[in-house]
């Protein structure tokens, strides 16, 4: 049974039927899926969720589909771990990692939003799906489209890194390289969606697509023993995931699944692209767009159209924001790897580096529970670590035990990442 009611403009409240839609016709503001929570109460319970499949679709009742999932049947339910070694390093009592670097099949949180978007595309009768992307989204759309038997057109800026091109191409999409920036690609995609009647997942299916991000939040709560962490730190790019993690928490509270403990949500951005965090720190409702300049390319969006909703969620929850410099991002990637055995991409390094700053400034008290949201995998951006990781060079040795003995003698103090270094 579907609990979906309508689409509703987030600004003026105009309602629309369930249909592919990019923005409100009246004021061009984003539209959001509305659910019938009254009908859910008592039926959508901890037990009903726990009885669901071991994937993000256990939260199907809170996702905007009419019938059965058509994509991402094994996506979600990524590891949620209590990071005791990292907590000890940072001097905090309780710290958790929600690890979407392990998501299936493309190792980023994007598998969540794409699973919902492609199911919806099939429900609407589309046979071609697409996206504008510079990385994780293209990869995810290509993989899920292949598995669902849908044609995919992936529009990318012409100078995307080879690893991401090949990673997507192998699934057989039609990849179109655009002479321009990501913003040019995005603008073109809205024209394409209009003219060709394709499902461009982050354009004309966006209201459905974004709902998939709630599952990152639902899983945190369920895997934490049906408790919301006191503090959740989320990276901000286009502004999709943070507001939806907060919406997930609020829906669970509203349905009586968990207690309202006043959870705070915090925004993490790179210093080289931090329009939203700047607005939060200045107490502004509107952000000023920026021209990005950071190694954290997957979160380098200077004009996030959902940025207003990030600011709104953070301030409503009583949270804050922080920005990390590129060297701090790299050090945080290494710190997470060295303490918890997780290799995340720069976006994840950004989130951890910002968490450290929020702890040190006192915005996150050391005795309150913290969840750091890791959204992508470091193996997909390995060249960033090659270029900036500052790994000490190590020449090859002879295959002789004496040579090895020499080497062991020479191994002095290794460059161990420390919290001080990661906080800058």
């Amino acid at each position: 049974m579907s609990y979906v009611k309508s689409l509703k403009c987030k600004e003026c409240g105009t309602e629309y039927p369930i249909e592919p839609r990019t923005v409100c016709d009246v004021d061009f503001a984003p539209v959001e899926v509305c659910f019938d929570y009254d009908a859910m109460r008592g039926t959508v319970t901890r037990e009903s969720i726990e009885a669901g499949p071991r994937s993000l679709w256990r939260y199907k009742d809170l996702l905007p589909i009419e019938s059965e999932p058509r994509a991402g049947l094994r996506s979600g339910m990524t590891p949620f771990l209590r990071a005791d070694r990292l907590a000890a390093e940072l001097g905090v009592r309780e710290l958790f990692i929600k690890d979407d670097s392990a998501n299936y099949p493309t190792f980023s949180y994007k598998d969540r939003v794409v699973s919902v978007a492609l199911t919806k595309a099939v429900e609407f009768g589309f046979d071609t799906v697409g996206c504008a992307s510079t990385g994780n989204l293209a990869h995810s759309v290509s993989a899920h489209a292949a598995a669902a038997g849908l044609q995919a057109f992936v529009m990318i800026p012409h100078d995307l890194e080879e690893g991401k091109i090949v990673g997507s191409l192998v699934f057989g999409p039609r990849m179109v390289r655009i002479k321009g920036t990501y913003d040019d690609v995005n603008r073109l995609c809205s024209q394409i969606a209009d003219k060709y009647h394709w499902a461009i997942v982050n354009v004309n299916l966006r209201p459905f697509y974004t709902e998939g991000a709630k599952t990152h939040g639902f899983e945190i709560v369920e895997q934490n023993g049906w408790r919301i962490p006191d503090h959740t730190v989320v990276p901000v790019a286009g502004g999709t995931i943070l507001p939806k993690v907060y919406k997930a928490y609020r829906e669970m509270i509203d349905l009586g699944l968990v207690e309202d403990t006043g959870p705070k949500i915090h925004a993490a951005q790179a210093e080289g692209c931090n329009p939203v965090v700047t607005a939060i720190e200045e107490g502004q409702e509107l952000f000023r767009p920026q021209k990005p300049a950071t190694i954290a390319k997957s979160i380098a969006i200077g004009n996030p159209a959902d940025g207003f909703y990030v600011i709104d969620a953070v301030s409503t929850s009583g949270g804050g924001g922080a920005s990390a410099r590129d060297p701090e991002i790299i050090d945080a990637v290494k710190l997470l790897a060295a303490t918890e055995g997780i290799f995340t991409e720069p976006a994840g390094g950004t989130t951890l580096a910002c968490t450290i700053k929020l702890i040190e400034s006192g915005q996150i008290p050391r005795d309150e529970s913290i969840c750091v949201c890791i959204t992508g995998n470091g193996l997909k951006t390995v060249e960033v670590m090659s270029e900036h990781g500052a790994f000490a060079p190590f020449p090859a040795i002879e295959a002789k035990i004496k040579a090895f003995d020499e080497l062991v003698k020479q191994i002095d103090e290794e460059v161990v990442p420390t919290p001080e270094r990661a906080a800058g």
């Binding site: 923005v23 061009f28 984003p30 809205s190 509107l286 767009p289 979160i299 159209a305």
Partner: protein, 94 residues
């Protein structure tokens, strides 16, 4: 004599300007040009402006492909032959 610039109208707003996709408008600043347009086409003005001198935050204005928020907002000055684009904000992800 004020400069004449070309204003590009997006599909979603053409119904408010008798279906035209470009208009030639005189004005020395973005605010002046949009003001003239609003006088001529009040329905367009309603969609562009939230209040007097306050643009709808979901409409982006570009002068020669540069977002006016990187220039001088409504005070951005214009030269003859400039291209002013009205683009509804596109929520995009990566």
């Amino acid at each position: 004599m004020a400069n004449t610039v070309t204003v590009m109208i997006p599909t979603a707003l053409r119904q408010h300007v008798d279906g035209q996709d470009t208009l030639e408008v005189g004005g020395d600043s973005v605010g002046e040009v949009l003001g003239t347009l609003t006088q001529r086409y009040p329905d367009l003005g309603q969609r562009l402006f939230k209040a007097a001198d306050e643009l709808n935050r979901f409409v982006n204005i570009y002068v020669n492909d540069e977002d006016i928020r990187f220039l001088d907002n409504l005070n951005t000055s214009l030269n003859a032959g400039d291209e002013l684009s009205i683009v509804p904000a596109i929520a995009g992800g990566r």
